[in-house]
């Protein structure tokens, strides 16, 4: 691992985004391999839960996602310390999350949302909390916070060789070289047909800006 390097993050260019939501689906697909999502989403039984959100206003369209803040405010408000910095990304430990929503409120980008938790394609039921449904008490489904993890688990699991990310990234890299050289790209970056998304690594971005500034002198 490179040391002392700020977190990378994914950002979109509104001038290229056409609002197609391919990124939302790609994000969902790679994060739900354990929920019956094979190479892509063909066998999905869970609802589509993205970790980035295409927004559309009168004047712009683009996906918004976590910036992996160096002083992450979401982590500061998490009462159970489920949010941590690991290997260049801010991640949420979904097993620890209690669904308190504090992080979603604290995030200045609106990059965190709460949805039901799933495992093995089934809603993940809680051991204790029950909810009344049609007069019967049933174990309530866990609801947890989701956000971009830069495909952290997937790219670090070594399980991507045959997966969609590697395939798409290879294609992407043969076309326009992406930031970060030969490293696997997050799924949203790889899949975007307009190349509107990119993984920005701070060191690369800064040195490029400095060079550009130098050229302007």
């Amino acid at each position: 691992m490179k040391k002392e390097q700020p977190n990378s993050f994914v950002i979109a260019e509104a001038g290229k985004c056409i609002g197609c939501k391919a990124c939302e689906l790609a994000c969902f697909a790679v994060h739900n391999r354990d929920n019956g999502v094979a190479a892509a989403v063909g066998t999905v039984t869970t609802p589509v839960i993205p970790r980035l959100y295409v927004i559309r206003t009168d004047s712009f369209t683009m996906p918004v996602q976590c910036r992996h803040c160096e002083n992450a405010p979401c982590a500061g408000v998490c009462p159970v310390q489920a949010i941590v910095q690991e290997e260049g990304a801010i991640t949420i430990d979904e097993d620890r999350c209690i669904g308190c929503k504090a992080c979603a409120i604290a995030c200045p980008f609106g990059a965190i949302s709460l949805y039901k938790a799933y495992s093995n394609g089934q809603e993940h039921k809680q051991p204790y909390l029950r909810e009344r449904l049609d007069g019967r008490l049933e174990r309530k489904t866990r609801v947890i916070a989701y956000k971009c993890d830069l495909c952290h688990d997937i790219t670090n699991s070594g399980n991507i060789a045959s997966g969609e990310i590697a395939a798409a990234a290879a294609v992407n890299n043969s076309g326009t070289p992406s930031e970060g050289g030969g490293e696997p790209m997050p799924a949203c970056v790889s899949v975007c047909p307009e190349q509107a998304l990119k993984l920005v690594s701070q060191s690369l971005g800064a040195s490029r800006s400095r060079k550009a500034a130098g050229l302007r002198l």
């Binding site: 056409i18 689906l25 190479a39 063909g42 009168d58 969609e164 076309g175 899949v191 307009e194 509107a196």
Partner: protein, 714 residues
């Protein structure tokens, strides 16, 4: 073990190359391949639009056995019985009423070119009529008619890859971001490379947002705007005088026709500022390479052919033909609508755009097919309701890979038409709304389950390949039609699609050199490709020789006509039908893909302006009732500040919020294309939202039951 099968995406005319990933005889994924148009990219439908093949039965179920209606109910039968029954019924109707009482369709979707060739041959040689048409009639029919008039060929003059290397893109009534994300990619790249982008559209589409100039014209005023463009080119002497003198005809009449359409006059009709009209035409004329791209916003009006010719005239006046990166591009919507036109699934032409009224050509086909052929142009698809309900002329309808109840205007009238017919055959992969009215259902193989050729929007023949075996007792379309022909006494015995393809190209000079082998070697072949040693043609009209009779381009302008149904007190809003990116056509395919269906599901949306929403007391996401003179439906309100006050938009994909229950059947007089982009409606707030939601759910459930969802066989 994962197998990769190289094929072409079945959604839209971009013609993207992709690999289907196959494990244990099932498709488990898709990945982009390096095709001429897509260069290793796919949109979300390409990536996630394949799992309808696994028959998840979300919206509707795959057809797995032939069915015949017995005592009012569709019952499964053997293929022998289905073919025999269909052949006897068609023969009886032909004998009783004559061949012109039978109408057939081509299919612009999965089946491919060979099946369309066989279908038009069946209608012409076996039934003995030119009554064959398909859904090009309800989309780019005006392009085929208009561009053939102006230039000689009714297709894109340019290629998709050229889009990014032009100096100016003029995009008219074309929402590429939604209909063709992979073409939109070229537009975005053109912008990055410094091209000027001009977008003419009533709505602020994604392309309007990134454009240098957006011309927000009022719906239904295209001709006035296009005439004003011509007026500026001539009045300001911006047109290419040498080009107009040498390669173009009709200048004097054209000049006279557009004289009245000053930018100020056009502003009073279109709402587009006179200064903007002048500005964009100065830019267009000045650009070294300028390209026009257009879509349904041009074609789906009762004045469509005129506007197509008008747009072609702008390119002719400025000399924007015969080079790479210029020209005019009607970007075809469905994956193989170019192909079904190429194959002659049209009432006036044989394969290769050869006229049925030309005796020499007819003789050629008579000799090849060994029968006498009819010399009269057949019926247009959109005239069928009138011909059945008012004139009682058509008795049988062979509907092949289309769903007119969902896709055609005025659905109630379409249902009435089908009910009145003596015999309706539906050949499809999924149960659909049209099949509810069928007397016979012939289940076919899907894309992914058969071989063939698709034509991309830019005239590119490309191979599709079989990846998996089909479920149930189904057959390839060309085989079903061949068996039917044989049962009717005209033996057809093709062994594979290549045999059909070779028969077709031997009869079609434009396609003669486009062999399977060449497609394999080059990845595809763009027509015209007249000989075996010809590589194909990326752009048309080299040397500024047009395909018209005298080789000249023909200018055209005429008076603007307002759309037929205008809003009034009872129906104060206008409705235009549009598309959304995650769904395709009548939605049988994407509605059966788990991810795509969840991204956007029933009952569909109606886009309205914030002003109209607040004056009606409607909130974003609420269910609303939408009523026209022809029907009423429920859909979800989607309040958008990109929509003008007084205008509304609905996508035609949804089955509960089916906008074609509302649309009108006014037709363009030449192409017979319906005015989908303009009719009058009223919106009503629904006070009891809870009950309305419940009713939508019930309606969806009962619809799915009708579509045989969950009826066993998973």
């Amino acid at each position: 073990m994962t197998n990769k099968v190289l094929t072409i995406c079945p959604y839209c005319g971009s013609g993207c190359h992709m690999n289907l990933l196959v494990e244990d005889g099932k498709v488990v994924g898709a990945e982009p391949a390096d095709g001429r148009t897509n260069e290793g990219n796919l949109c979300l439908k390409g990536h996630y639009g394949w799992d309808f093949l696994n028959d998840p039965q979300i919206l509707t179920a795959r057809l797995r056995k032939p069915m015949i209606r017995k005592e009012g109910v569709l019952r499964e039968v053997s293929w022998e019985e289905a073919i025999q029954f269909t052949a006897e019924k068609l023969t009886a109707i032909k004998e009783k009423y004559g061949p012109d009482a039978i109408m057939g369709t081509g299919s612009a979707r999965g089946p491919g070119n060979e099946a369309n060739y066989v279908m038009q041959k069946f209608m012409r040689a076996v039934i003995g009529t030119n009554n064959i048409d398909h859904c090009a009639r309800v989309c780019h029919g005006p392009s085929v008619a208009g561009l053939t008039y102006s230039l000689g060929d009714g297709a894109m003059s340019n290629s998709i890859p050229e889009i990014e290397d032009t100096d100016l893109l003029f995009i008219f009534g074309y929402n590429a971001a939604v209909t063709h994300p992979i073409v939109a990619r070229r537009i975005v790249k053109a912008k990055q490379k410094g091209a000027t982008i001009i977008v003419s559209d009533p709505r602020k589409t994604e392309l309007a947002r990134i454009a240098d100039t957006w011309l927000p014209l009022k719906g239904g005023t295209n001709m006035a705007l296009v005439n004003a463009f011509g007026n500026v080119l001539i009045e300001e002497e911006l047109y290419d005088k040498d080009y107009a003198a040498n390669y173009v005809e009709g200048f004097a009449e054209y000049k006279e026709s557009v004289r009245k359409y000053t930018p100020e006059y056009a502003e009073s009709i279109t709402g587009v500022k006179a200064d903007d009209i002048r500005k964009v035409m100065r830019q267009y004329a000045k650009a070294n390479k300028a390209m026009i791209l257009y879509g349904m916003g041009v074609c789906q009006f009762a004045q469509a052919v005129d506007v197509v010719r008008g747009l072609a005239s702008l390119a002719l006046l400025t000399g924007n033909f015969g080079r790479p990166g210029v020209g005019i591009g009607p970007v075809r919507g469905q994956n193989n609508v170019q192909g079904s036109c190429d194959m002659g699934a049209l009432p006036n032409v044989y394969p290769g755009y050869q006229s049925v009224t030309d005796p020499k050509i007819r003789k050629k086909f008579e000799k090849a097919w060994g029968v006498m052929l009819p010399d009269k142009i057949g019926y247009h698809l959109t005239e069928i309701p009138h011909l059945v309900l008012k004139e009682d002329k058509v008795k049988a309808y062979y509907i092949f890979g289309e769903d007119p109840v969902q896709s055609d205007p005025n659905a109630a009238e379409v249902r009435e038409t089908l009910e009145k017919m003596e015999f309706v055959i539906v050949q499809d992969i999924f149960m659909n709304k049209t099949a509810l009215h069928a007397d016979v259902i012939l289940p076919a193989t899907s894309w992914g389950e058969h071989d063939g050729v698709y034509s991309s929007a830019d005239r590119g023949f490309q191979r599709i390949r079989k990846a998996v075996d089909p479920p149930g007792d189904v057959k390839p379309d060309w085989q079903i039609i061949s068996e039917l022909a044989t049962a009717m006494g005209y033996p057809m015995s093709y062994r594979n699609t290549e045999e059909i393809w070779d028969e077709m190209r031997a009869l079609s000079p434009k396609f003669a050199g486009a062999s399977y082998k060449k497609m394999e070697e080059q990845g595809g072949v763009q027509w015209p490709c007249p000989t075996e040693d010809h590589p194909g043609t990326p752009y048309l009209y080299e040397g500024n020789r047009f395909s018209t009779a005298n080789g000249k381009g023909r200018l055209f302008a005429c008076e603007w006509r307002a759309p037929l149904e205008q809003p009034d007190q009872e129906y104060p809003l206008t409705l235009s039908t549009v598309r959304e990116v995650g769904h395709y056509s009548v939605r049988t395919m994407t509605g059966n893909c788990r991810a795509l269906s969840q991204l956007s599901d029933e009952p569909g949306n109606i886009q309205i302006s914030p002003g109209d929403a607040s004056s009606l007391g409607i909130e974003d996401g609420q269910l609303v009732r939408i009523i026209s003179r022809r029907g009423r439906i429920v859909a979800r309100a989607q309040i958008s500040d990109r929509v003008k006050t007084g205008a509304t938009y609905m996508t035609y994909h949804f089955w509960i919020g089916a906008c074609n229950e509302l649309t009108g059947d006014a037709l363009d007089p030449i192409s017979k294309t319906p005015e989908y982009k303009y009719c009058a409606i009223r919106l009503e707030r629904i006070p009891d939202q809870l009950r309305a939601e419940q009713k939508v759910r019930q309606q969806y459930e009962s619809l799915r039951k009708q579509m045989h969802v969950g009826a066993g066989q998973a």
